[in-house]
């Protein structure tokens, strides 16, 4: 038996750090469900700014590409809320 492949493995693989690490001043994208993350990450104009999947609803944004990502999301008809800091 092999583990079932995740639908996002090809487009947005799971983050796999080699050792414990902390990334300061990071930016993440949060969505409501997996389907939405699939839809967003499969759009090349948006997906190019994402680096890895953290979970089915959270992705790591390429550092420094937040503004570009927000522009791309808006251009694709999304209305992303922008927030700062770790609290939801």
């Amino acid at each position: 038996m092999t583990a079932a492949k995740h639908p996002l493995d090809r487009v947005l693989p799971l983050l796999e750090p080699d050792q414990p690490a902390i990334l300061a001043n990071a930016a993440i994208l949060e969505v409501q469900d997996l389907a939405q993350l699939i839809e967003i990450s499969r759009d090349p104009k948006i997906g190019r700014h994402l680096l890895a999947r953290l979970s089915d609803t959270v992705a790591l944004i390429d550092p420094g590409a937040e503004e570009e990502l927000i522009k791309a999301l808006r251009a694709a008809g999304h209305t992303p809320r922008t927030a700062k800091g770790g609290e939801p």
């Binding site: 690490a21 993440i28 994208l29 209305t79």
Partner: protein, 750 residues
């Protein structure tokens, strides 16, 4: 009911003035000391006099005694200065004192003679009761005037401000005008608010000297701001006027190169009462240097050879005197004032040296009967007045009937046909409060006024006659303006406008509450549904920045507390992450630490000892893992291309992670793989190489060889057609060439 208390519109806002004794000469020090402390038989040394003066000034009782002992005309002067908030310009002071009969114009025969003046202002200045304004009291009569004076703070409390002056029109207007134009206060605010919004969208903008807007910025603003109202007397460069007003009111700040908006100052302005807003507009207008009435935007520089604007100090003086006249109008029982009559009266009360400058080419050129045939009039009062009416008078007409109407403080009237046209004006309700302050106040009902209608098609009608500042600014934040004219203006709620408001910090509940409290018909159900739907969609996608991401954490760790977002992944505040990193001995990734990639021509990427997880995540987007290293291949690049990753993005990552240059052939390959295929030719050609450049040139020009050539490849090299090879060989032999030379090829290292 509330009553607003505005300051006198011409009052100076300044810190309490205190006399400076450092520059006093001995004579002045002795005189002032004698005035403040009485006769003194001791030493008259300057230092001792100053000591006595300072001692008297420290005594509040002495200040009251000094004021009480002043002659009535001196106290009247101080009362005028007090009315102006304790500081007044020399030109205004002179007009006030003349109008109140405290001083008189010098007689004609005195104008060209030197004589000792007895002038209350000069005496008060000499005795240091008023500050500034001092000059030699031997003066040439025709140039009599004052410089600015101010009242020391300790004296101000002993003096009541002077009462207002009124205005007497030399000829009344016997009937109301045929048509009138006025702007509601809310309309003025909407325009300013929209200009502020357009400026805010620019982020920072470039400025010329004095904060003037460069043409490129003006053009950008004009594109996003609604079209002009079509009013033929609308101020020239209306957007620049609004911009300069915003700057003068502190809503925008400037340095030498750039300007930027202070949104909270716009908010503060909007929350003032309408008359307080208008008072600020007028006070700001008095100071404008890069926009002039009837002219428009002007540079903040002057040119002796070619006029660029009216001299700013003359302009300030003219504006001061015009406002001074309007403060008098506000205290009179006059309804409509005929424009030409008012200007003639203004000339009479401000004199030849009142409004005094030269300009031509105003945007509105009214024709005044008293200016007609000015050059044919004999020298004297009428001729001077006619010239004044045709220059300074036209400026004042533009300021009154264009600028002041734009600011919402004057209502413009017009009567008669094209040839018999007469203009008149009166102060609006707000204008009366602004110019009549502090005595004239307007009463109004407190509380939120219902000034909107929200329609099911998401359009919002704003009724300017009842709208207030908060309604205008809140609506500007949540809805897009669709029309810019009329008493009822159209706005529209759109997903984008509501999204911008929410992103700007408004909560959905605030928007709903605003519409519900201000709408005359409530909020239609479908509009309420749209609002909550748009808000819900916004919440569905969140871009969260400035977080710390801890990855690969040991199971059960509690040093880094935050929100778990995946297996061994925690999103935490930077403080919590920093503290936890120390406790757990985990490195915080930095850019320097990430600079550990080494790439060769084969596309093999080797990493350093500590692998940055951002670096690894980036590599996974365009390279394949291979024996503990990574390899960039045509296949991996094809996959990256499908993900939308461009070669430029990859080169950007290389810059971050590498300390050496990407091998050029790999860089070319990456560009090729990413879709920008570089074309190449690889096949055989018949090459004719001539080592002697003179011989090469001779053959190039030869008609005999030309039929066998395809062209030239490089200096000294022809490409011969395959079919013409034999003929070319024969011809070259015939011409005596030896065909046994070796092909000369430059080394790749040369």
């Amino acid at each position: 009911m509330t009553k607003s208390a505005l300051p006198f519109v011409l009052s100076a806002s300044r810190d309490s003035a205190e006399p400076s004794v450092d520059n006093l000469d001995a004579t002045r020090a002795q005189r002032a000391a004698r005035f403040w402390t009485g006769k003194w038989t001791g030493s008259q040394a300057k230092a001792l006099c100053i000591e006595r003066l300072k001692s008297a000034w420290r005594d509040p009782k002495r200040a009251a005694e000094v004021v009480a002992a002043l002659p009535p005309e001196h106290r009247a002067v101080l009362a005028v200065v007090r009315r102006y908030g304790g500081g007044i310009s020399g030109s205004l002071l002179r007009r006030e004192l003349l109008a109140r009969g405290i001083v008189k114009e010098p007689k004609r025969e005195d104008r060209l003679s030197y004589h000792r003046e007895t002038d209350p202002v000069h005496e008060l200045c000499e005795n240091l009761v008023l500050l500034g304004g001092y000059r030699d009291y031997w003066s040439l009569g025709s140039s009599r005037g004052y410089s600015s004076v101010s009242l020391p703070g300790r004296l101000a409390s002993h003096i009541e401000p002077a009462a207002s002056l009124d205005w007497k029109a030399s000829a009344p207007v016997d009937k109301a005008p045929d048509s009138t134009v006025l702007r509601a206060p809310a309309q003025v605010l909407i325009d300013l608010e929209q200009t502020a919004r357009a400026l805010q969208a620019q982020g920072k903008w470039k400025v010329n000297q004095g904060g003037a807007l460069p043409a490129a910025v003006r053009n950008r603003l004009a594109k996003v701001l609604p079209p002009q109202s079509g009013d033929s007397l609308e101020p020239p460069d209306r957007i620049v006027l609004d911009y300069t007003l915003l700057c003068a009111m502190g809503a925008a700040e400037l340095d030498e190169a750039e300007g930027w908006l202070i949104p909270e100052h716009v908010e503060t302005l909007a929350n003032l009462s309408q008359e307080a807003q208008a008072s600020m507009y007028v006070r700001a207008w008095l100071t404008l240097r890069t926009w002039q009435d009837g002219i428009g935007a002007v540079p903040d520089r002057d040119n002796r050879d070619e006029s660029t604007r009216i001299d700013p100090s003359s302009m300030r003086k003219a504006r001061d005197l015009l406002v001074w006249a309007l403060t008098r109008v506000a205290h009179s029982q006059i309804e409509w004032l005929d424009l030409e009559t008012f200007l003639l009266d203004l000339y009479k009360v401000t004199g030849e040296d009142g409004l005094s400058f030269y300009w031509h080419g105003y945007t509105w050129q009214p024709h005044f009967a008293t200016a007609a045939g000015k050059d044919k009039l004999p020298g004297g009062f009428e001729r001077s007045r006619a010239y004044w009416m045709d220059d300074e008078g036209i400026w004042a007409a533009n300021a009154l009937l264009s600028t002041m109407v734009h600011l919402g403080v004057v209502e413009r009237g017009r009567s008669g046909g094209v040839r018999s046209e007469r203009w008149c004006f009166r102060l609006t309700e707000v204008g009366k409060a602004v110019f009549g302050a502090p005595e004239v106040r307007i009463e109004k009902v407190a509380g939120d006024v219902k000034c909107l209608t929200v329609q099911p098609n998401h359009e919002i009608l704003l009724y300017l006659d009842t709208a207030d500042g908060p309604a205008v600014t809140t609506l500007g934040r949540i809805a897009a303006r669709e029309s810019a004219t009329g008493v009822v203006q159209n706005f529209k709620l759109t997903r984008d406008s509501v999204y911008a408001a929410l992103e700007g910090g408004m909560a959905l509940a605030e928007i709903e509450s605003f519409l519900a409290s201000r709408s005359r018909n409530g909020v239609p159900a479908n509009v309420a549904h749209s609002l909550s739907e748009w808000s819900r969609k916004r919440e569905a996608v969140v871009v969260r920045s400035s977080v710390s991401l801890a990855a690969g954490l040991p199971d059960g760790q509690s040093s880094i507390r935050g929100r778990s977002v995946g297996k061994s992944l925690v999103v935490a505040s930077s403080r919590a992450a920093g503290k936890g990193a120390k406790d757990l001995g985990i490195a915080v990734e930095s850019e320097a630490m990430c600079r550990d990639w080494k790439v060769d021509e084969h596309g093999t990427v080797s990493l350093g000892k500590t692998v940055s997880f951002v670096g690894k995540a980036r590599l996974r987007r365009f390279a394949e893992p291979l024996d503990g290293r990574w390899r960039i291949t045509a296949e991996s690049m094809r996959a990256a291309r499908e993900l939308g990753i461009s070669s430029d993005q990859i080169f950007g990552w290389f810059t971050t992670h590498m300390s050496h240059e990407v091998p050029p052939v790999l860089a070319t390959a990456i560009r090729n793989w990413a879709g920008g295929r570089c074309k190449a030719f690889l096949d055989g050609v018949v090459l004719l190489q001539i080592n002697d450049l003179k011989a090469f040139e001779a053959l190039r020009r030869s008609e005999r060889l030309r039929p066998f050539l395809k062209g030239a490849l490089a200096p000294g090299c022809f490409v011969v057609t395959e079919e013409g090879r034999k003929e070319a060989t024969k011809l070259l032999r015939d011409l005596g060439f030896s065909l046994d030379a070796e092909c000369k090829i430059a080394s790749l290292d040369d």
